[in-house]
Every structure is written in structure tokens, then in C-alpha cells.
């Protein structure tokens, strides 16, 4: 896209080039027609001079146009710049206002939302509590119903287990009693078999401590008398 500020420059250049072309054509024409005529020579000189003036005027005019165009361009740019700044400022201001409005609205909205949320939570909490309480109540009722229903079964099962345990304990008691009885019998048999040894050991312990040497000697002397009576010693 061609910049808008280049258009005057291009126009100026076209004008200058047109003026220069025209002046050149005039100059060329005059030089061809009046080459050998001295009066014409002055005329040609005059014409060249005029052509030069036209060219100069054209250049000056072009220059002016260019300067004006540049100034206009600069002005336009400055104007645009100012406009842009203005717009920018306005935009910023508008934006700030809008932002302030938005934030204010947002705060209000948040506050509102917060309140609504709190209210909702409170409400929900109450509902949950009520629901939980209700559920608990229902669960307890169900449990009571279940226990009531199962108590009969459990009671019979418990009785059955008790009976089994009782039966096992009784069996074990019979076995233990039998073992005890066997043990007693074995011990009695063992004692019976060794009764003499047991009595001897007991007597040894007792007599060994109780009888004096004189008493022991007297018993020996009596034994010797007995041997004599029996005619073992003769």
C-alpha cells in the first residue's frame, strides 16, 4: 500500500519532470528552427532563458508543493499522534472507569456470591445434618429390627454352642477322671509294691534320729537273746 504522504511528492516529481520535458522540447524546437538565423538566435536565447525560468519556477513550485506536502504530512502525523494520544488517554480513562466499574461489580458479585454460598452451605449443612440424623435414626431402627429378628437365631446358636462346649468339657472331664484314676491306681500299685521299702526308708529316717547308741545296743543285745532262744547261737 502506498503511503498517503508520498502522493504529493510523486505529484511534484511528475510536475517537475513535465516542466523539464516541456522546457527541453521548447529549447530543442527553437534550436532546430532558428539555427542559421542570427535574429532567431536571440529569440532562442530568450526562449531558453524562459524555458530555464519555467524550469526554475517549476522546481520552485515543486519544492513549495513538496514542503507544503511535508508540512501537511507532519501536521497530519502530529495531528494523528495527538489524536492517538488523546484516544489512548481516553481509552485508558475509559478502561480504568470500566475496570473500576467491573471491579466494583465484581466485588459486589463476589460478596453476593459469598453470601449466597454461605447461605447455601448453611442450608446444605442443615439439610445434611437432618439427613444424617434421619439416616442414623433409620439405621438404628433397621439395626433394632435386625437384632430383634436375629436374636432368636443367635439365642439358639448360642445355646447350641453352649451345649457343644458342655458336652466337650464333660468328655474331657471323663477322660481326665479316668487318667487320674489310672494314675492313682498306678501310684497305689507302685506304693503297694514298694511298701516295705517305703516303710523301711521312713523308719530309717525316724529311728536314725530318735534312737540313741545305748538304745540301739540294747536292741542288738535283745536280738542276740532271741537268737539264743531260737538256738541259732549255741
Amino acid at each position: 500500500m502506498i503511503d498517503i504522504y508520498l502522493i504529493p511528492v510523486m505529484v511534484t516529481l511528475i510536475i517537475i519532470s513535465s516542466a523539464v520535458t516541456i522546457a527541453y522540447l521548447i529549447k530543442l524546437f527553437t534550436s532546430l528552427n532558428h539555427k542559421d538565423n542570427p535574429t532567431d538566435e536571440n529569440y532562442i536565447k530568450e526562449a531558453q532563458k524562459k524555458a530555464n525560468q519555467i524550469i526554475l519556477q517549476a522546481i520552485k513550485g515543486a519544492h513549495k508543493i513538496m514542503v507544503r506536502s511535508e508540512l501537511a504530512g507532519i501536521k497530519q502525523i502530529a495531528k494523528e499522534k495527538l489524536e492517538v494520544e488523546k484516544i489512548d488517554r481516553r481509552y485508558k480513562k475509559e478502561l480504568e472507569t470500566l475496570a473500576a466499574k467491573l471491579f466494583a461489580g465484581l466485588d459486589l458479585h463476589l460478596e453476593k456470591q459469598k453470601k449466597e454460598y454461605e447461605s447455601y452451605l448453611l442450608k446444605t449443612g442443615k439439610q445434611l445434618e437432618e439427613s444424617f440424623s434421619e439416616s442414623k435414626k433409620r439405621l438404628l431402627e433397621k439395626m433394632d429390627q435386625f437384632l430383634e429378628a436375629e436374636s432368636g437365631t443367635f439365642s439358639s446358636f448360642s445355646q447350641e454352642v453352649k451345649n457343644q462346649i458342655k458336652s466337650q468339657v464333660e468328655e474331657e472331664m471323663i477322660k481326665v477322671n479316668a487318667e487320674v484314676e489310672n494314675y492313682k491306681k498306678a501310684r497305689v500299685i507302685a506304693i503297694d509294691k514298694n511298701i516295705a521299702a517305703i516303710v523301711t526308708a521312713a523308719t530309717l529316717k525316724v529311728l536314725g534320729k530318735k534312737l540313741t547308741l545305748d538304745e540301739q545296743t540294747d536292741l542288738v543285745l535283745k536280738a542276740l537273746d532271741q537268737a539264743k532262744v531260737e538256738k541259732f547261737l549255741s
Partner: protein, 171 residues
């Protein structure tokens, strides 16, 4: 005189082994005394004998256990003969083994020896004492190869059924 010597001997010992050992100990001393130191008194001679011949304590006790009156029976001329007769007598003696439930000291042995002497109407019997605590009380005898138990242990064993009945009455 021979009986007197035996009386002394039986006061101090009862078994054949002990009696014969006493006789040997006495003979050794008499040889020392009569052949070497007859001039000395008996007591002095015994002391010298103990010193010179390196006599064992048990043998010293044997020699010291006899009184002077016992030694008076012996002389250079008769001691061999008396000891020989005593030895022959002891060897011919009957032996009575007495098992006792306690360790008898010489006092108890003497009492029992006297009792046996009385029971055999003055006949000398060699006594061999043994210790058997299981007898409990009384004694067990071996005479002429026969064992006879007069101990309480034997009484209990012989009356086992009665003992059993007594115990059963407390059961």
C-alpha cells in the same frame, strides 16, 4: 595264764584279724624288749621302741592299750610259746558276724562281746562287726554259714501285710 591273756586280748579286740594283728604287734615288741632292752623298764622300753623302730600310730595304740599287768605274764622264756598258743586258739575259734545298723564304738563292741561270751557260756567266739544302716534296728547274724536277720527291717518285711493293712486303714 593263757585264759588270762585271752581275756585281755578280747577286751580290746573281737575279730580274728584284729586279734592276730595284736598278737603280731605284741610279738615284735617283745622281741625288741627281751632281746635288746630288757634292762629298761617296760614304759621306757616302749618309748624307745616307738622311736627306734618307727612304729605306726595304730600299733602304738595297741601296745599302750594293754596294762602293765598284762605284760607281766610274758618273759623271754615264754612269750613265744604263749603267743603261739594264743594264735592257735584264735585260729580255731568260731566266727560270728554281726551286722549292725549303727557304727559301733569300742564301748558298744565290748558290751556285745560280753553278751556273746555269756550266751556261749564262756566260750570264746570271734566277732566280726559290719555296718548296715538299712537294718534300722536290731542286728543280722551269720554263724556257721547261716544268715539270720533279727533287724527291724526284717520284721517289717515279714509283716508287710499287716503294715499294708495299717496303711489301708488310713487311706
Amino acid at each position: 595264764m593263757e585264759n588270762n591273756i585271752l581275756d585281755y586280748l578280747f577286751k580290746n579286740c573281737f575279730s580274728k584279724a584284729d586279734l592276730l594283728h595284736h598278737l603280731s604287734t605284741l610279738e615284735s615288741f617283745f622281741e625288741f624288749y627281751f632281746f635288746q632292752n630288757q634292762t629298761l623298764s617296760l614304759v621306757t622300753s616302749q618309748k624307745e621302741y616307738f622311736l627306734k623302730e618307727n612304729i605306726q600310730e595304730s600299733d602304738k595304740e595297741i601296745l599302750l592299750s594293754y596294762p602293765v599287768s598284762f605284760y607281766s605274764f610274758f618273759s623271754l622264756e615264754n612269750f613265744y610259746d604263749l603267743l603261739k598258743k594264743a594264735r592257735e586258739f584264735i585260729e580255731k575259734m568260731e566266727n560270728l558276724t554281726i551286722s549292725l545298723p549303727f557304727e559301733a564304738a569300742s564301748r558298744e563292741k565290748e558290751k556285745i562281746g560280753k553278751k556273746v561270751y555269756d550266751l556261749f557260756s564262756g566260750r570264746r567266739i570271734a566277732l566280726d562287726f559290719k555296718h548296715d544302716p538299712l537294718l534300722l534296728a536290731g542286728c543280722a547274724l551269720i554263724f556257721r554259714g547261716i544268715y539270720k536277720d533279727y533287724s527291724l527291717k526284717n520284721i517289717l518285711e515279714n509283716n508287710e501285710q499287716e503294715v499294708r493293712n495299717i496303711i489301708a486303714s488310713y487311706a
